[in-house]
């Protein structure tokens, strides 16, 4: 068998494509004219990233020589290890940007929460593939699987790393949906996020969303109790969001939430980032201002432009064409992974591939949504593009595992 025929080149090259786009952007955001305003340790970020990319490439290649079943075998150990590490970090960790999710060993910092994502996908996949499919009548294993997600999610939340916690929580509907959770219930799990989002924009939008979702649940599942629960939950959410925004929350908290809807509400606080991010992207136009030519980027108008707002650098300097190219690479990667899951015969591999693509999808949505002013600003990196060693390594670990599962999809099937 020719390994290169089975190797998933499309995944590999879209991964590398994103990485290269990321390196260009990080270079511009840290080594361009802007470097004048940046402290020295940030200017080094490009070179550090280069090292991480090299190490990750080596790791991904090395992973291809591993037997695929190893991943399901070590899944629980890895999960337990990460949980332990996360708890340890809570007490011994280093705080970076307000999040105590970093562990420091010999001057070397690693963000444990990034690794937690990988181990959660593996552990949940391992658990779900050992059970029969979840059905309407037997939701017990769904709850067990959900708790496997919620425990690390809460731990990461305790570390004050809201963004990563959100990604971990968001795994729940995707993985359960894949392993047979009825569509109606999956939709019900997702509904609070959607209703909440639209309620922030306007209570009437929230109400409309709640109505549509309830209707969809009824049409899909035709269960009266589920429909009623959904309707009540929807109403409570719309009311709750409204009360929270008008009565309960402090002005600065409201400002942060409302910033994306109405940036001028607090133009120098949370709105500032939204305004500057939108201005950066919008002013890029069709073809962009050119590499290292973006005024918003180079004159330091963007916050965290090498990590959370890297998409603005791409939008400003490479324009609509460059941004769409990045989105296109993500589409190729995600669709390829999901399609691969459909092709795969082994439930563990299917679940892992769905989980991995879910994580990337959520990152893509939240990161670009923040930069484009579609979502409240939640600081999470854009996979492979943003600067960040732990994130790059962890995301590449997922790519490596996915490539391995796809490479051995025929052999692996025999071990069912």
């Amino acid at each position: 068998m020719n390994w290169y025929k089975n190797f998933d080149w499309l995944t590999f090259f879209s991964w590398m494509g994103l990485t290269v786009m990321g390196l260009f952007s990080i270079y511009s955001a840290t080594q361009g004219p802007v470097s004048e305003f940046l402290p020295a340790f940030i200017q080094q970020n490009f070179w550090k990233q280069l090292i991480w990319v090299g190490a990750s490439l080596f790791m991904v290649i090395a992973l291809q020589f591993t037997a695929p079943r190893t991943f399901s075998q070590v899944a629980y150990f890895f999960y337990a290890f990460c949980i332990t590490l996360t708890i340890g970090t809570l007490f011994l960790g280093v705080e970076v940007n307000g999040a105590k999710s970093w562990i420091e060993i010999a001057g070397f910092r690693f963000q444990v929460s990034e690794l937690m994502k990988v181990s959660t996908v593996l552990a949940v996949s391992s658990y779900l593939s050992s059970r029969r499919n979840i059905s309407m009548e037997r939701l017990g294993s769904a709850l067990s699987a959900a708790s496997l997600i919620i425990i690390p999610g809460v731990l990461v939340l305790l570390q004050n790393d809201t963004g990563t916690a959100l990604v971990i929580f968001a795994l729940t509907p995707f993985l359960l949906f894949w392993s047979g959770l009825p569509y109606g219930i999956s939709l019900f799990i997702v509904s609070p996020a959607l209703i909440g989002y639209f309620s922030v924009i306007g209570w009437y939008w929230g109400l409309l969303t709640a109505f549509i979702i309830t209707l969809m649940i009824f049409v899909i599942q035709k269960r009266v109790w589920l429909t009623i629960t959904s309707a009540i939950t929807g109403l409570i959410l719309v009311g709750g969001v409204n009360i929270a925004l008008t009565k309960v929350l402090q002005p600065h908290q409201i400002a942060r939430i409302e910033a994306f809807v109405n940036p001028s509400f607090d133009p120098k606080g949370w709105g500032w980032n939204v305004i500057q991010a939108k201005t950066a992207i919008g002013s890029g136009g069709l073809t962009g201002k050119g590499f290292m030519q973006g005024t918003q980027t180079q004159l330091r108008f963007l916050p965290e432009q090498w990590t959370d707002f890297i998409f603005c650098v791409i939008g400003e300097e490479f324009g609509f064409i460059g941004s769409v190219f990045v989105v296109f690479l993500f589409m190729v990667l995600l669709i390829r992974l999901i399609y691969g899951a459909g092709q795969h015969k082994h439930p563990f591999a299917q679940s892992v591939l769905v989980g991995v693509s879910s994580i990337f999808l959520i990152h893509l949505l939240i990161n670009t949504g923040s930069a484009l002013g579609l979502l409240p600003v939640i600081g999470i990196p854009l996979p492979f593009v943003s600067y960040g060693g732990s994130a790059f390594l962890s995301n590449s670990l997922m790519i490596g595992i996915s490539l391995n599962l796809l490479l051995y999809r025929r052999e692996f099937t025999m071990y069912i």
């Binding site: 069709l286 324009g319 999901i338």
Partner: protein, 610 residues
């Protein structure tokens, strides 16, 4: 895996791919909206973001005297500005320390700036000195939102004050701002004096500069190598007819006195010196106004802001007599030979007192001796034979009773009554010759400013040519003369050389043999003049002296009014004579007269009858 499960997996894959594509479409759609559809909004926004449009203030025009001495110059002042939106309130203590302000004071100022505008820069601390300015600039990277503006303020390099001539600048009012697009709110404009009257020329045009900035508001240099910049055009310079040395002496002589001096070239009306006492210090009103000083000069009971040289109206007293002589001769009610016997008073219904018993007086002697009886009699003849209004018209021709048109704001018109005036004041037919006779000696319902009296005496000196007193000779910029004072061409036609010569001779006699002989009869130049005392019902009389010199070729005419100083011969005449001495000999030789006038204290018994 059963077929049901396979079917469900296929559906799930489709749903997941659908979700992925939906997310992709949302992102691409939003990118399309921002980058393609709304590019016209965000493109300029990013340019504005990274560019700051600054106004560049033009240098205000300079003001020079007739010899090219710089009287009003500019000097840079540094104003610390703030853009509240970019400012970090945590930096207030640091900024306060750099500026030598208390934290509380600074907080108030920052709040004020926030109220003005959150996004636009406004002045935080006007006019800081260079040391403070450099200290702030050293820390500017720690102080986002803080900037500076270099403006200029007036400085006055010579030792003259010329406060009423030059005037001061104040922040423009809301109305001025609305009316013209040459100003920005907070700009200053001339409020009084030349600064006000010639604001249009002095101001210049605001320039614009584009500066690249980063998110901290730090200036990074020019944009497009200054391609879009519009440089300011400096204001035009003003050359006045002032003589700094003469002005300086005039100011010194008026210290601790109240009144006004006008010295002009009788041939052209060019003002050589103009003093209003008390005056004020322009340098304290330049740039950041010294509020304490401002309040003080505003509430001062002696009204230092008031320009007495062009607004103080007093009866001219005996200085009016030369003009009376010309009018008498014109109307034919007297001839040079006409005599009046003075026995110490003129009687017409009541007794009008003279200053002495002059005996038989012809016109020349009446001027020399300032004989009231003669002029009461003359005014009686005019009033009864020609009517008051004929007199009024002729007086008006010699610059009294209307504004002279000097290039300063708020000139007083003075009062020369006609019948309508008395009708208004007393009621129709309720006044008579008794109210008119007084006017013959420049008393009663007549008022003239020092400027008007200087103009009158100039016209006597120049042969009746009308002149328009003016401070500014020309206004010029780098390439052109944009304004030039125009001479008036018409003359008073009703008088003649004989009449004028007679009057001039009388005035010369005043100086050589009459009331002004102690102080004004100087060897440096031949002066012709007339003293006067304006009766003041509220206190000591006001002293006048009007004169010109040299007698045969007049080059300088001076009018001096010293309020509450008693006789003109002892207070006003010495001052005028010192100015003449200085002007024609180049220095003050009679230091004893100078010292006397510097320490002058009016005494009632002083001087001589006039």
């Amino acid at each position: 895996m059963n077929s049901f499960q396979r079917e469900r997996n296929r559906t799930s894959i489709r749903v997941l791919i659908g979700i992925v594509l939906l997310v992709g479409m949302i992102i691409v759609g939003r990118l399309y909206q921002l980058q393609v559809l709304e590019y016209d909004t965000y493109g300029p926004l990013s340019r504005e973001n990274s560019l700051r449009q600054e106004s560049v203030h033009p240098a205000r025009g300079l003001i020079l005297d007739k010899n090219g001495n710089l009287i009003a110059d500019n000097e840079p002042v540094y104003t610390i500005t703030i853009t509240p939106a970019n400012f970090d309130k945590k930096k207030i203590p640091l900024l306060a320390q750099l500026l030598n302000f208390s934290v509380d004071e600074l907080e108030v100022l920052v709040k004020k700036a926030q109220k003005y505008s959150w996004q636009r820069s406004s002045k935080l601390i006007p006019e800081v000195n260079f040391e403070v300015f450099s200290k702030v600039e050293e820390h500017i990277w720690e102080l986002p939102g803080i900037g500076h503006q270099i403006e200029s303020k007036r400085v006055y390099p010579t030792s003259i004050k010329a406060s009423h001539i030059l005037g001061y600048l104040r922040e423009i009012s809301e109305q001025q701002y609305q009316r013209s697009n040459r100003y920005r709110l907070g700009d200053k404009a001339g409020t009084t004096g030349i600064e006000n009257r010639y604001e249009e020329y002095l101001r210049g045009e605001l320039g614009t500069r584009f500066v690249r900035i980063n998110a901290y508001g730090q200036a990074l240099g020019t944009y497009d190598n200054g391609g879009l910049d519009v440089s300011p055009s400096s204001g035009a310079n003003i050359k006045t007819g002032l003589d700094v040395d003469l002005q300086k002496l005039a100011e010194e002589l008026m210290v601790n006195k109240t009144g006004g001096i006008v010295a002009m070239d009788p041939r052209t009306g060019a003002i050589r010196a103009m003093v209003s006492a008390p005056d004020y210090d322009l340098s304290k009103l330049a740039g950041k106004i010294d509020n304490e000083y401002w309040a003080q000069i505003n509430s001062d009971s002696t009204k230092p802001l008031f320009n007495r040289a062009i607004t103080a109206m007093q009866p001219p007293g005996s200085t009016f007599k030369p003009l009376m002589a010309l009018i008498g001769l014109k109307l034919g009610v007297i001839t040079p030979k006409t005599t009046v016997y003075c026995n110490g008073a003129y009687v017409k219904g009541r007794e009008y007192k003279c200053t002495g018993r002059h005996g038989e007086q012809d016109l020349a002697h009446a001027i020399q001796n300032s004989c009231n009886t003669y002029f009461f009699s003359l005014m009686n003849k005019i009033g009864t034979q020609e009517g008051l209004n004929a007199w009024t018209k002729l007086v008006n021709d010699f610059a009294l009773g209307h504004s002279t048109g000097i290039d300063l704001p708020n000139e007083a018109r003075g009062i020369v009554p006609d019948s309508a005036y008395f009708d208004r004041a007393f009621g129709k037919n309720k006044w008579g010759i008794g109210d008119v006779i007084n006017l013959g000696v420049g008393q009663g319902a007549i008022g003239a400013t020092p400027l008007q009296m200087a103009t009158m005496v100039s016209m006597i000196a120049n042969g009746g040519h009308k002149i328009k007193p003016h401070l500014v000779e020309s206004v010029y910029n780098a390439t052109d003369t944009v304004y030039k004072a125009q001479a008036l061409t018409d003359s008073v036609t009703w008088t003649n050389k004989e009449a004028l010569d007679l009057v001039r001779a009388g005035m010369r006699k005043v100086v050589t043999d009459g009331s002004a002989r102690w102080y004004a009869n100087i060897k440096y130049v031949e002066i012709a003049g007339k003293t006067g005392t304006a009766q003041n019902p509220h206190g000591r009389d006001h002293a006048w002296f009007v004169c010109y010199a040299p007698i045969d070729n007049p080059q300088l005419a001076v009018a001096v009014l010293v309020e509450n100083a008693g006789f003109g011969s002892t207070s006003a005449a010495p001052i005028a004579s010192l100015l003449m001495e200085k002007y024609f000999s180049g220095k003050v030789n009679r230091t004893w007269v100078y010292d006397r006038m510097i320490h002058f204290v009016p005494k009632d018994e002083d001087g001589v009858a006039e």
